[in-house]
Symmetry: C2
Subunit: 377 residues, 2 copies
């Protein structure tokens, strides 16, 4: 692999810029240290053991995961402090308990007393102390209980008494921060996110329920937050790789984006003024990214192999075709079949999940190939 | 696997209704026989050896593929007559030749004389007679030469003389048929597609260039075509599985759709009137399908385990969450965490490519697990 160059690698291929990843990891770790919150990065963004190691070396405490397959892969690699941040449901209880029995402490999330009761019964036999977080809806309106929901405190109290389960604390995610292009709006949402869990944690403690974890998420709000008072951990994920959505939102620079797809030109037409790449809906994903703020966004920006933006976008995708349209003459002369480009992607998490490995570039050289742990089971 | 039921399978999981697949395969084979064209199905839709066998048993002649990984997988399973229908580029020449040397006849497609010359030089050493198709643009405006492009006949003549390559014929794809919801419009596009290649084939033969293959594609036009006169083969793909896009377009019935995603409810909120599934942007794909004709389309229809439409849609997806909104009371009572549903998908080709296997249902029973050959290399 070290002898591989961008000219020799089969296309399409996922590229990772290691210098940018290190810089992104360092900045977030510094932010977390300054805010005195534990950083528990969401590993759904990369699904990659080597990148998780890099995050932990930069100061992360534990990981967040989105699938049991991620939990198993990270657990097998020695990461034994994980939070599964998609609400757990009965079909997954047996595997959660099996992971605990294998020495992997996998915290779970729910907002449902029936789920708690079912998990308690399932865990009773082996006696594993599964940490259970109650999910709080801070305005995203996807999952969880509102902080002032009359069921919230009784649910936490119920978990605190549902041995062998352990009430871990409160968890929320301001996913609606991705709708907020105004920096001031993100500051407000970050404060909403903080208050949603901190206020409930205070009421629980007043009622005698200990709350260890007060956890917030979302890269945009963690970067925008004016205060983390009362928050114990943050779970941003995308910050490590960044992408065009974050850059258009204003939460990173385009130069922070660490993931691109190496693609080859397969068709070039002066008549249509188009260039077609071998990276389409599968290699890039069909995420339209920042289209609401950038009508030209398409499915990614076209860069040369050195990362210089050619001013072209992937305007349309079919399964294995990525169409670049309105191509100026100077590029029609150059982007002939066999020419290679990099496509900077809209949504790193979704593009990564389309590939089985990162091809790691450090200082322009291939240094490694890192496995992406896809799937669910 | 045979003991598995829809209640025991880990979620999310891709389900295949074998009876519907057999019916879809039989109908298309019958259409091709009646039209006296060879059926070369596009296997990008399923990437699955067992489904390709089923197509061949129903009467298909050879397969179309969209990646060299598919070519390798089908070749290894004994399918030695393949057409790689994405334009070939120099970075893939070595692998194309290697496949030929391994006994797999992989036809390629291009519209570019430089590609032909490069492939000729690359093939000269081993002398493999790679069949080369010239791609014709019948109005889709994605790839290929217009049938009246002055470069078209010289290119075909050049290939016919570029030993060891072999000029196989002409290939086109009316991808723009997916924009045509009017049946009469699809009939017209099918005729445009036919004439684009048949007219050029006739001119080539008049010039003394033999044209073996005159190939058309696209499920909507193959189903709509009034005539296949002069056409030798058809390459529809989606017909085998069908999906909500095809059903909304009017090229199949909803009851023909053979692919769904088994999902579990992870969150149910009476306050939000929402149900959240563990099938999101990765398990379903982010293809918005027929949204231009069905504003409510979302990311798929929610069925019960018997396949009965509950009248609900997946309105929004994030990475591992599928949100069903505006859920009536009667379903909020039933779709509690752990309940299971099936999501009928917008675009079967893209959803299939998100999974590593089909879970095959025959008469409501699991009969097998069939591997999906993803990736590119």
């Amino acid at each position: 692999m070290t002898a591989m160059t961008l000219d020799a690698l089969p296309t399409p291929a996922l590229l990772l810029d290691l210098a940018r990843v290190r810089r992104n990891a360092g900045r977030m770790s510094e932010l977390a240290r300054a805010a005195d919150v534990a950083l528990r990065p969401h590993a759904k963004t990369h699904k990659c053991v080597e990148l998780a190691r890099l995050q932990v070396e930069a100061g992360a405490h534990g990981l967040t995961v989105s699938t049991l397959a991620e939990a198993r892969a990270f657990g097998a690699a020695g990461f034994c402090d994980l939070t599964y941040a998609v609400p757990v449901e009965p079909g997954k209880f047996a595997e959660v308990i099996r992971l605990h029995e294998a020495g992997i402490c996998l915290g779970v999330v729910t907002a449902d007393p029936e789920v708690v009761e079912g998990l308690r019964r399932a865990a009773a036999g082996s006696g594993v102390a599964v940490p259970v977080h109650v999910e709080i809806d801070c305005g995203d309106a996807r999952t969880g209980l509102a902080p002032d929901d009359p069921d919230a405190i009784p649910l936490c109290q119920h978990i605190a008494n549902a041995l062998p389960l352990r009430f871990a604390g409160l968890l929320t995610h301001a996913g609606h921060s991705y709708d907020a292009q105004e920096p001031a709006a993100r500051v407000r949402l970050a404060e909403d996110e903080r208050l949603a869990v901190v206020s409930l944690a205070e009421r629980l403690r007043q009622d005698g329920v200990p709350v260890d974890v007060v956890s917030v998420g979302s890269t945009p709000t963690v970067k925008a937050a004016a205060s983390f008072a009362g928050v114990t951990e943050a779970r941003p994920g995308n910050y490590l790789l960044s992408d065009l959505f974050q850059a258009t939102l204003g939460t990173c620079d385009v130069d922070d984006c660490a993931v691109s797809v190496l693609a080859a030109v397969v068709d070039c037409s002066r008549t249509r003024r188009s260039v077609v790449l071998d990276a389409g809906a599968i290699a890039l994903s069909k995420d339209r990214g920042p289209v609401r703020w950038d009508a030209r966004a398409g499915y990614g920006r076209v860069l040369d192999l050195d990362g210089v933006d050619l001013g072209l976008r992937v305007a349309n995708v079919s399964q294995e075709h990525g169409e670049v349209r309105d191509v100026p003459d100077r590029w029609l002369d150059v982007l002939r079949p066999g020419a290679r480009v990099r496509v900077l992607v809209n949504h790193a998490c979704l593009t990564v999940a389309q590939h089985d490995a990162f091809h790691v570039l450090d200082d322009g050289q291939f240094v490694d190939r890192w496995t992406i742990h896809r799937g669910w089971h």
